[in-house]
């Protein structure tokens, strides 16, 4: 059952990712990106990360994507005739070859490592949100505060960049 869901979410997210890159109209690309984000959040559910699922739906699909669509509507973009890089064929073949090689390596790797201190049973006992909260506000408190200051700076920077500039007064004429 998990395999069926994994196959569905993985295939649809890959197809949506390819459509995001390949579609011509920017709004269609935005909608394909929405499908990608929602299916990636489905993968998070399969990995017992419910809190990350909620954050993905609320922050990515709810906030970031709406920001993209808002800017697209605000600027009323015309679709360019030449929307791909002029020499994109030179990128495609090496990328396909490289990805096949990397995939064959990845699918054969064993991927073992030291186990951490949060086995699935312990996480499921109190819920994923509880486990994330305990970890974030004990060991990762400094990083949490840094991200908070970073977001404040990003918001202020975005407002300063996007506000209407004052007309430049001619200083010599005073």
């Amino acid at each position: 059952m998990v395999l069926v869901f994994f196959t569905y979410f993985a295939l649809v997210s890959i197809v949506a990712g390819v459509m995001t890159v390949a579609l011509k109209h920017p709004v269609h690309c935005g909608l394909a990106l929405l499908a990608l984000l929602l299916h990636v959040s489905g993968l998070f559910i399969l990995l017992n990360a419910e809190f990350l699922w909620a954050v993905q739906v609320i922050v990515y699909a709810g906030a970031i994507l709406v920001l993209y669509l808002f800017v697209l509507m605000l600027m009323n973009l015309k679709t360019d005739d030449r929307y791909l890089h002029s020499s994109y064929r030179y990128f495609l073949a090496p990328a396909a070859l490289g990805s096949v090689y990397v995939l064959s390596l990845l699918l054969r790797s064993p991927f073992a490592g030291t186990k951490g201190d949060a086995p699935t049973v312990a996480v499921l006992q109190d819920g994923d949100t509880y486990a994330v909260g305990i970890k974030m506000f004990s060991e990762y408190l400094l990083q949490f505060e840094i991200v908070g200051v970073f977001l404040l700076g990003a918001v202020i920077g975005a407002i300063v960049l996007a506000k209407t500039p004052k007309p430049i007064v001619e200083k010599r004429g005073r």
Binding site: V2, L3, F6, A10, I14, G17, V21, P26, C29, G30, L36, L37, V40, L43, L47, N48, A49, F51, L52, V59, Y60, I64, L67, Y68, V71, L74, M75, L77, D80, Y83, H85, F91, L92, A95, S99, V102, L103, L106, L107, S109, F111, G113, T114, K115, G116, D117, A118, P119, T120, D128, V132, K135, M136, Q143, L151, A154, V155, G157, A158, L161
Partner: protein
């Protein structure tokens, strides 16, 4: 039971898709969307390893990545608005001035 390498393979395919998008698309907004695809691929990787190696650290780093992606989107779209106000198109080939 889905093996860990399947998640890593999905993440690798998505990352390469995003990388190709950054390289071949010329619309600045689509380039930013491709960056979001790459960040999502990294998130899948982190959460998958966090589940299979039984550690919470991967999920926390994925949360921080989402926060930083939000900041990146806000700043990038503000830059797009400024550039578009200067009557320059959003084609990244034609944006070659730092000041005008």
């Amino acid at each position: 039971m889905v093996p860990l390498s399947a998640y890593v393979a999905v993440s690798a395919v998505l990352f390469i898709t995003g990388l190709l998008g950054v390289l071949i698309r010329r619309n600045f907004i689509i380039v930013l969307m491709s960056v979001e695809i790459m960040l999502n691929a990294a998130n899948i990787n982190l959460v998958a390893f966090s589940y299979y190696l039984e550690s919470m650290a991967g999920q926390l780093v994925a949360l921080f990545i989402i926060a930083i992606a939000a900041g990146e989107a806000a700043i990038g779209l503000a830059i797009i608005i400024v550039v578009f106000r200067g009557k320059i198109s959003t084609n990244v080939d034609e944006m070659n001035l730092l000041k005008w």
